[in-house]
């Protein structure tokens, strides 16, 4: 029976793990959060301090945490943006931004971090994501403090940054960061709002090429596309990272095609898309509107998500931000 799974392992990995990477990179968004992210009673910021994380769990800190561990690139980016870089004692294997984060000690790949390694570092607070449910449970049993950061949308992201700032005694930096991000989002929203719905291009975002997979409406990427004034052709998909057939994509005729670029290498080119059977008829291909976008900024729910938003606007509505 196991052979069933082993034989299909490459397929499993392709169809499940790769989108799963996006799920975890984006922090996921399939579930509703259990509670409001910030407990109104703790706005004051004195210690001992109780914060509620994105899973609705309350964590009480006796003093400002001095030793932080991040288990995801998005968390690392938030912590560094809050000026907490010198308090981060270890990160996951994939944390590579800002560049100095890449040189920090590692606690393992972010799907299964080494609990043993984390414990040995004696962190005051561990920043996990929804993928780390097992590890978080384990760390709690061992008497460590861990919080889960899982923003499902841009607004959630700002809320998450707010409680992270509160927990780490970096409220001012957090407020400033949120203000800047809010301004840029508002800028985009006010300009996009002038574009009537039927003038907003249909966008197809190709998460993965073999098999072809796109983003469902609940994902952060899809929300970024909508905020940037595009319409996701997979607006009606049930799954977060649904497999899509070529014929559906040709039928829905996207006007813009966007795909993630990893480490500057383009996974897809206009030529490759054009050479797919029947795809040369798609408007985006005819008009040459096939673009790559840095996978790391669009799939990590961190401060750079706003960069991704602006890049999307430039792709979908060139000149709108000028």
């Amino acid at each position: 029976m196991l052979a069933r799974y082993i034989n299909r392992l490459p397929q499993l990995v392709a169809t499940l793990l790769i989108p799963a990477l996006f799920v975890l990179a984006s922090g996921g968004c399939a579930l509703n959060r259990a509670q409001s992210p910030v407990d109104p009673s703790v706005e004051t910021g004195g210690y001992p301090l109780t914060v509620t994380d994105d899973m609705g769990r309350q964590i009480t800190l006796d003093s400002a945490p001095e030793r932080l561990v991040s288990l995801a690139p998005s968390n690392t980016e938030i912590l560094f943006a809050l000026g907490l870089g010198d308090k981060v004692v270890a990160v996951d294997d994939y944390s590579d931004y800002p560049p100095e984060a890449a040189n920090l000690p590692k606690v393992g790949g972010f799907s299964k971090p080494s609990v043993e390694k984390i414990v040995s570092l004696q962190p005051d607070l561990v920043f996990a994501t929804s993928i780390h449910e097992e590890a978080v449970k384990r760390l709690q049993e061992l008497g460590m403090l861990a919080v889960v950061v899982r923003p499902g949308s841009l607004d959630d992201l700002l809320e998450s940054i707010k409680w992270i700032g509160l927990a780490t005694s970096a409220q001012e930096r957090a407020d400033e960061l949120i203000r800047q991000m809010r301004n840029r989002i508002d800028q985009v929203q006010s300009r996009v709002s002038r574009i009537p719905m039927d003038k907003r291009p249909w966008v197809y975002y190709e998460v993965y090429s073999d098999p072809i997979m796109t983003v469902g409406p609940r994902t952060l990427i899809s929300q970024l596309i909508e905020t940037a004034g595009g319409r996701n052709i997979a607006y009606d998909a049930d799954a977060d990272y649904p497999k899509f057939s070529s014929e559906t994509i040709i039928k829905r005729n996207p006007e813009v095609i966007i795909f993630p670029e990893f480490h500057g290498s383009t996974a897809l080119t206009v030529e490759q898309v054009r050479s797919r059977d029947g795809w040369s008829e798609i408007s985006a291909v005819k008009d040459g509107k096939v673009y790559g976008i840095d996978a790391n900024i669009i799939s990590r729910p961190g401060p750079r998500a706003v960069d991704a938003l602006e890049q999307l606007v430039r792709i979908i509505h060139p000149g709108l931000l000028d």
Partner: protein
């Protein structure tokens, strides 16, 4: 009377004499003596290798713990304090014990199923236990119910129940009157297994952000090992091993064919039912602890049989020890080779075990030893 029967099962099922005994030692007494000593030596060697691999496994990890510190912690487990204590006693030790238990359980279950089905392709998952466990675990992961059984969370509990219920269903599907045909059992197992796997795949497709948890569960691993789970699993493990150990004679006889076994006075139906129950209990215990780990339950029985011969009174304990040692070693490699990043343990078992198995197989071919 029984001893003679026992011997007959052994020598017919055997073939051990073909390669173990030098020509001339034909007397039943001499070969029985030799077997006894060989058996003892074999068990001692395997036990030693298990202890060695477990000691090594506790010694190494993503974090360096000095030998003095390790000895200090292990000699005074209640008074020791600090990070190293947590790492050794709360993280490494339960993990090492869990991998030993699961390795032993899978190897014994695999050996049993191979004999019961008289099929070298049989493994602990052959009649659907893995698919049932996968469905149970997937449902538990997706619904995330808060319940605990004996302190154990929903995922291991439902995986355990899923495996048992599936095999029970398969058994009843394959039963005609009081008789269960081995072939029907295998086919029913494959059919039910495929069906359940399809349901798991379907659930996975719509599982959203919990998808990765399901995928990792399917890949198997010991990073979730806890004392609590070990304690909960120990009675089932012990019961499963005991059932199989008390039926090694029946296993030897069944291997020769149901008819022959009946002539030797074995209640085949009853023995088969007990052995199925024991092996299934072991499989369910293993999958609930670690998820699906392939290869061990298929290959360890073969390798052990090649070395120890086909007499199950030796083969079963040897498989248990060998499986445990192999799994401990595999998991130690999995968590240390690219530490702190962990490899899936199933990857290590297949990567390490595959070539070794082929080597043994080739050597046996060259020496014209088939079985």
């Amino acid at each position: 009377m029984e001893t003679v029967e026992h011997e007959r099962c052994r020598s017919v099922a055997g073939g051990e004499t073909r390669w173990a005994s030098p020509p001339g030692s034909h007397s039943l007494f001499a070969s029985a003596q030799r077997r006894k000593w060989k058996k003892r030596a074999m068990i001692v060697i395997l036990l030693a290798s298990l202890i060695l691999s477990m000691s090594l496994a506790v010694r190494v990890g993503a974090v360096h713990v000095s030998l003095e510190e390790l000895v200090g912690i292990l000699s005074r487990p209640t008074t020791a304090a600090g990070t190293a204590r947590t790492i050794i006693l709360d993280i490494r030790l339960p993990r090492v014990l869990a991998s030993a238990m699961v390795g032993a359980a899978l190897a014994v279950a695999g050996t049993t199923f191979q004999a019961l089905f008289r099929n070298p392709m049989a493994d602990p998952y052959v009649i659907g236990a893995s698919s049932g466990a996968a469905l149970g675990a997937t449902v538990a992961i997706l619904l995330n119910p808060g319940f605990r059984v004996l302190g154990v969370g929903a995922v291991p509990s439902l995986a355990f129940v899923g495996a048992l219920v599936t095999v029970l269903v398969v058994y009843h599907l394959a039963r005609v009157g009081h008789a269960v045909s081995v072939i029907t059992l295998l086919l029913a197992g494959i059919a039910v297994g495929s069906f359940l796997s399809a349901i798991v795949s379907l659930l996975m497709y719509f599982s959203g952000e919990r998808l990765h948890q399901v995928v990792f569960w399917l890949m198997g691993g010991f990073d979730g090992a806890r004392w609590l789970y070990l304690k909960a699993a120990l009675p089932y493990f012990t019961l499963g091993v005991a059932i199989v150990v008390f039926h090694t004679r029946e296993l030897n006889c069944i291997l020769m064919g149901d008819e022959s076994a009946r002539h030797l006075g074995i209640n085949v139906e009853r023995a088969r039912k007990m052995l199925l129950a024991g092996a299934t209990l072991l499989t369910a215990t293993a999958v609930s602890q670690s998820g699906l780990i392939g290869f061990v339950g298929l290959i360890v029985p073969h390798v052990t049989r090649m070395i120890a011969g086909p007499d199950h009174s030796l083969l079963i304990p040897a498989s248990a020890l060998g499986g445990a040692a192999f799994m401990v070693a595999a998991d130690t490699l999995a968590r240390t080779v690219i530490a702190p990043t962990e490899l899936p343990v199933g990857l290590v078992t297949a990567l390490g075990g595959g070539p070794f198995f082929i080597y043994i197989l080739r050597r046996r071919f060259k020496m014209r030893m088939f079985y």
